[in-house]
């Protein structure tokens, strides 16, 4: 499903971050990537999500190279195929939780029927993640764990095939971190969403089927 070949990326002051990195992810996989701060974990996710570009190498999604995508194609790719979860929940403060969750539908310009179907799907996901009652609340009115679950629902509302989570439990307490980890695993198994999680948390990593470590710019087991 996703294949990275010879991906290299360097910064002027940080030097080489990714060094001819290769990665193969199959549909339905759940992969945890760990590594020290500054090792390039977020950079790797950003490259997969086309939020950043490598200096060299190529990225294939469903067999097609995606690095040549222009800004609009990249946006469409993210909207249709990728779900993002960040350490900071990045919920829009001025929209309530339900609106935040439905926001990706606006970007994709869904047809009325599609919208209805996906709105219902969002309801299911909210139910499943335990935030069904929070739809009318604003981000500053809910807890960090709830916000992160809302972010997760928002990432899944467009039924992406790949979920990228960047330190999703980084700002959560252990209880909420545990709950979110379980939720990610369940969603991976139930919905068949391919999952790549970047984390420092060994607990969260252990919940994933595959574990890789980013070391000196390369992924090692």
């Amino acid at each position: 499903m996703l294949r990275l070949e010879n991906i290299s990326k360097s910064y002027l002051q940080r030097g080489l971050v990714l060094d001819k990195l290769d990665l193969q992810v199959n549909k339905g996989d759940s992969l945890a990537i760990t590594g020290p701060s500054g090792s390039g974990k977020t950079t790797l996710l950003n490259i997969i999500g086309l939020m950043d570009h490598p200096d060299s190498g190529d990225v294939f999604f469903n067999g097609s190279s995606i690095l040549s995508y222009g800004p609009d194609e990249s946006a469409r790719y993210r909207n249709r195929n990728i779900g993002f979860v960040f350490q900071d929940h990045l919920l829009l403060s001025h929209l309530n939780i339900k609106e935040n969750i439905l926001l990706p539908l606006l970007a994709s310009g869904n047809h009325r029927n599609d919208f209805k179907e996906k709105a219902e799907y969002a309801g299911v996901l909210m139910e499943k993640t335990g935030i069904a009652s929070l739809g009318d609340k604003f981000p500053f009115q809910i807890s960090g764990g709830e916000a992160q679950r809302a972010t997760l629902v928002r990432a899944l509302v467009n039924k992406p095939s790949l979920l990228l989570a960047d330190e999703p439990t980084g700002s959560l307490d252990s209880k909420n971190a545990y709950l979110l980890g379980n939720l990610l695993r369940d969603l991976n198994e139930e919905l068949g969403v391919t999952l790549i999680v970047v984390t420092h948390s060994s607990d969260l990593a252990s919940m994933m089927k595959l574990n890789l470590k980013l070391d000196n710019g390369r992924l090692v087991k």
Partner: protein
């Protein structure tokens, strides 16, 4: 519940309303200034139009004869023919004194009217009896007059014969009357009636026509006919149809001696164009030109003061141009025979008072009987000073008559034959030697078979009145056009408020940047959710634009308030700019809409740029690399600017003739360099060694490293404000020593004089100096340049209207060439002053001459360039083309067109006497000259002032504009300092986390305050230094001269900014307290 775009934007605006309030306020201010400026333009335009309408009274169409007169019966005939009421009036120049107090008001417009005028012009059935006068409120206020008071008026007499016409009597050139003020007329009752293009309310005086012109049988001489309706064409055609010979000063009579009919003019000489017109209609007619010769001389014998007629060759066939026929009386007196040569001497009066005696030798062809067929006393024109005289020695011929040369036999001839010509020459020769600017014939003679009434009949309605100097003008249309094309106060105030507008836009840009900073996470979320760049841009753009709309709507209504304030300031403290206090605020929807659209457009451009750059920054993946590349090119830009700055200053030193513009350009580049350096200082990342030595100081700088605009914006506003004030101060116009030099605006002349009534005498002549008592030693160096003037609409900066007919001045260019007076900004001769002045005497084509005017008048008043042609009506109604040969550097002549005196005499022969004087003399007697001249030429209403004062009177307008600019500039500076405070407030808000952590790690409140303050002080000082140093550098030439630099103003302003800035910094930094930081920490 799909979150539609509008909903998201609305929610966002509500949520971020506290951050948005700054933008709304800034946009509100911006729209108030822009809309206020646009409304000011509309208000001024409408006010000008109203003033013009008020001054026109009921008049819409005006028939004018300029310097000439016509019979008032013409108005009656036009009324009948057009079916519209027409009123004839007589307008003249003069001045007025309060009989009791002696106070005098010059430049009063005097109207001789009958009762019909007031019935026509206003609803009041006002009647002015002979001996009474009605004055308008302005004149009454100036002279402190009330009904019943007595006044003396002096005015140019009404005489169809121009006083400078050949042999016009040398009678007094002004008339005076003592009148009783019967009415004080308000504007509403038509008191400000005064057709013309100017916003200045005139001083008017209305008197009974009989007090100014005797009239016969209810007919009087008039020079204006007024219509309240119609168009110029609808009056012009009937005017042609009803104009008779008598209406334009012609008389048709029969000569008893010859039996011929003849047309004569009350102007004595008949214009060549009218001669041609009449002879074209009645080809059997012939011109005759009779002239007074000073002497006939032959063989030591002389016959003085005789008339010679030049007649058609058909009367005495066979004589050539060099031959002359003498009557027997003369032949006997000279003892001359046919074949002898006789010398004729006469005064050439072509150029007014400059009499030259010319002579020509003729061969005597024949001797005629004293009672020959053309021995006709009617051939002598009806010269007023001659024809009524009983003796030759009693003649007042307007030229020197040597009484001792008049013999008894000459008196006997006069008693017996009056002015019967003693000799005859061919008309073609007579025209050549005696034809002059006033005409080429003294009569047109027709065969006896044509009765006078036949001639009148055949010429009735067939002569072009334009050829008699009559013009028809739609004054309403002209007034409206002059107002709408006049000074554009919209652009002017947009320009004057430019600094505020710029400040607002910069602050708005900064506010948008800060607003975006708070939205970074939102944008990240949009990106991660797959929103496209243009969708995100649309979100942000729409949000800020919505804020602009919210600010602009009340802003345009605040513009109404700004307009009111500006108009009241123009009517009071800024009156110098408009010369009137009659402006009023007007509401108009168009400026409001235009203001709204302009503001939305301007802010939309800023928003678009800011949104694009913000999203671009959000998208940059390799920031460090880009920044490195950016810094390299930025450093290169600084180097280029530095080199250009140094280059410009060096060029300014080397090329002194272009130093002003080069220093200014250098100053602007230096300004840019200062700003670039400040930006570079904050963008620059220190080297590794310094980087490793981490310090609190660096922490502060690091903030600006990421947000350089937060440092640059306040610095730019402060610097630009100071720069603008210094530039403005340096450009304040004052009369410097340079301007008093010959090449300066005074032409090197000591005094400037203007007379209400033209002065006929040449004041440089010994006779005049003797007459006026200018013979003592103190007056030895006093000399005059006298200029005649054709009245027109003031084209100087003092007139807000667009003027197309400025006053025309005559100047003898030799005075300015000899003295090296005045300088040209531009000329057809590329800067050769002498040749440019000399061009005034040239005539490059038929009815085409050269003219000169102030460059400012050309550019702003007349809106023409060098080489363009202005079209005027010459006195005889023909088009006079004036090619602009040069544009004078700011001079005392501002508002006028200057033409050569020779050409002036040709095209405006009836303008007799000088109205404008440039007076030279010994500086130490300046006050003596002023007092003496005003006293001794008081009968002409002469007003004298120093030439420097005259020149500075034109600076009032510019200086007032500069004052406005300074005031608005200071307001802009206040905005700048406010902006600084705004940035600080936002800055602290955004950095409170940073400060909280510093506090947590042990930094004291004082040390945190100190490091914040350091950068703010740097920005403040850098802004002040950049503005002051570059401003002074840009105006270096002015500093070297003795320009009126408002040093105190600049110093106080800089100190005020410094003190205000430091105080506001200290106050704002006090917001950072240990308690606030601790509370922030708790939240974290």
């Amino acid at each position: 519940m799909k979150p539609g775009m509008l909903k998201i934007i609305t929610r966002s605006l509500i949520f971020y309303r506290k951050d948005a309030v700054y933008q709304v306020i800034i946009v509100l201010l911006l729209s108030a200034i822009i809309t206020g400026s646009l409304l000011t333009g509309t208000s001024v335009r409408n006010s000008l139009r109203r003033t013009s309408d008020q001054k026109s009274g009921n008049a819409r169409i005006i028939v004018s004869s300029g310097q000439r007169f016509f019979s008032s019966t013409l108005a009656d005939k036009l009324s009948v023919r057009t079916g519209k009421r027409a009123v004839a009036i007589l307008e003249t120049e003069g001045y007025c004194s309060n009989f009791l107090t002696g106070s005098t008001s010059l430049n009063v417009r005097i109207f001789g009217v009958n009762d019909e005028f007031f019935q026509w012009n206003s609803s009041d059935s006002l009647s002015i009896m002979p001996g009474d006068a009605a004055v308008n409120s302005k004149l009454a206020e100036e002279l402190e007059l009330k009904p019943g008071d007595e006044i003396i008026i002096k005015f140019k007499p009404v005489d169809p014969l121009p006083s400078n016409a050949p042999f016009a009597p040398s009678k007094d050139d002004e008339s005076s009357k003592v009148l009783r003020v019967s009415h004080i007329l308000t504007a509403e009752s038509g008191g400000n009636f005064s057709p013309g293009i100017s916003q200045v309310i005139p001083k008017t005086l209305f008197i009974n026509i009989s007090d100014i012109d005797d009239g016969i049988d209810g007919k009087f001489n008039a020079n204006r006919i007024l219509f309240s309706s119609g168009t110029a064409d609808s009056v012009l055609h009937p005017l042609v149809e009803v104009t008779s010979l008598s209406d334009i000063g012609f008389t048709v009579r029969r000569s008893e001696k010859t039996g011929e009919s003849e047309i004569i003019s009350d102007r004595i000489f008949i214009d060549s164009i009218l001669v041609s017109d009449i002879l074209a209609k009645i080809p059997s007619g012939s011109p005759v030109l009779t002239y007074l010769v000073n002497s006939f001389s032959f063989n030591g014998r002389t016959t003085p003061y005789s008339f010679v007629a030049s007649i058609p060759s058909s009367v005495f066939p066979g004589i050539s141009d060099d031959e002359i026929l003498l009557n027997r009386w003369l032949a006997k007196d000279l003892e001359i025979e046919p074949g002898d040569s006789v010398v004729l001497r006469w005064y050439d009066t072509t150029f007014g008072n400059h009499l030259e005696e010319n002579e020509k030798t003729f061969r005597v062809s024949r001797i005629l009987d004293d009672n020959n067929k053309y021995a006709d006393p009617l051939l002598m024109p009806d010269f007023p000073g001659i024809s009524g005289s009983t003796t030759c020695s009693g003649w007042d011929a307007g030229v020197p008559i040597l009484l001792d040369q008049i013999r008894k036999k000459d008196e006997e001839y006069w008693n017996s034959f009056r002015g019967t010509p003693k000799a005859f020459i061919n008309y073609s020769e007579g025209k050549k030697i005696w034809g002059n600017n006033f005409g080429v014939a003294t009569a047109l003679r027709f065969p006896g078979s044509l009765a006078p009434q036949d001639i009148e009949k055949s010429l009735y309605g067939s002569l072009d009145p334009v050829d008699a100097g009559l013009t028809v003008t739609d004054i309403r249309k002209a007034g409206a056009s002059a107002a709408s094309e006049g000074v554009d106060f919209s652009s002017l105030f947009l320009g004057l408020g430019f600094f505020i507008i710029l400040s607002c836009l910069i602050l708005f840009s900064l506010a948008v940047t800060i607003f975006f900073d708070t939205r970074r996470n939102d944008v990240r979320a949009y990106y991660s959710l797959g929103f496209r760049n243009r969708q995100i841009k649309l979100f942000l753009f729409s949000e800020i634009t919505a804020l602009s709309v919210i600010g602009a709507i009340p802003g345009v209504f605040c513009g109404l308030l700004v307009n009111r304030i500006v108009i009241s300031a123009l009517n009071s403290v800024w009156q110098g700019a408009v010369q009137t206090n009659t402006l009023s605020s007007d509401f108009s929807l168009v400026p409001l809409i235009a203001g709204f659209i302009s503001v939305i457009t301007l802010t939309a451009v800023v928003i678009y740029i800011k949104t694009s750059s913000f999203l671009k920054r959000m998208n940059v993946s390799s920031e460090e690399k880009s920044k490195s590349r950016f810094l390299s090119s930025y450093f290169f830009l600084i180097l280029v600017t530095l080199v250009l700055t140094i280059g410009l200053f060096l060029s300014a030193v080397l090329y002194r003739n272009a130093e002003t513009i080069l220093f200014f350009a250098g100053g602007v580049f230096l300004f840019g360099l200062f700003i670039l350096l400040l930006r570079y200082y904050y963008l620059y990342e220190p080297g590794k060694k310094e980087k490793d030595s981490f310090s609190v100081r660096r922490l502060s700088k690091k903030y600006y490293n990421h947000n350089p605009s937060h440092a640059i914006t306040p610095a730019v506003i402060i610097a630009a404000g100071i720069f603008a004030v210094i530039i403005t101060g340096a450009n304040r116009q004052v009369v410097s020593d340079k301007m008093l030099l010959p090449e300066g605006g005074t032409g090197g002349y000591l005094l400037w004089g203007e007379s209400a009534i033209p002065v006929k005498e040449d004041l440089n002549l010994d006779k005049s100096r003797k007459d006026y008592g200018f013979e003592s030693e103190e007056f030895r160096e006093m000399s005059f340049v006298q200029c005649c003037r054709v009245s027109g609409d003031d084209a100087s900066c003092l007139n807000l209207n667009h003027v197309t007919s400025p006053p025309i001045l005559s100047v003898d260019p030799k005075y300015f060439i000899d003295k090296g007076s005045f300088s040209f900004v531009s000329s057809l001769t590329k800067g050769n002053n002498t040749v440019t002045w000399a061009m005034l005497d040239e005539k490059p084509g038929e009815n085409t001459i050269y003219g000169i005017a102030d460059q400012t008048v050309l550019k702003w008043g007349l809106k023409v360039n060098i080489g363009d042609t202005l079209k005027f009506r010459a006195e005889n109604g023909q088009i006079l083309n004036v090619i602009i040969a040069g544009g004078l550097k700011s001079s005392v002549f501002q508002g006028n067109i200057i033409i050569g005196s020779r050409n002036f005499s040709e095209f405006f022969p009836s303008v007799s006497g000088s109205s404008i004087f440039l007076i030279d003399g010994n500086k130490k007697y300046k006050d003596l000259y002023i007092n003496t001249l005003q006293e001794r030429l008081s009968s002409y209403g002469l007003f004298v002032q120093s030439a420097g004062e005259k020149l500075s009177s034109f600076f009032v307008v510019t200086n007032t504009y500069l004052d406005v600019f300074v005031i608005l500039g200071v307001f802009g500076l206040i905005l700048g300092v406010t902006g600084l405070g705004f940035v600080l407030a936002r800055n602290y808000n955004l950095r409170k986390r940073e400060f909280a952590f510093l506090a947590a790690t042990g930094y004291t409140q004082e040390s945190i305050r100190s490091f914040i303050l350091t950068d703010q002080i740097i920005i403040l000082f850098w802004g002040i230094a950049a503005g002051t140093i570059s401003g002074l550098a840009a105006t270096f030439p002015s500093l070297q001269n003795d320009g009126d630099i408002p040093w105190n103003q600049i110093l106080y302003m800089v100190l005020a900014i410094l003190v205000t800035g430091i105080i506001s910094l200290l106050i704002s930094v006090r917001r950072i307290t240990s308690r606030s930081l601790v509370s922030q920490l708790r939240r974290e």
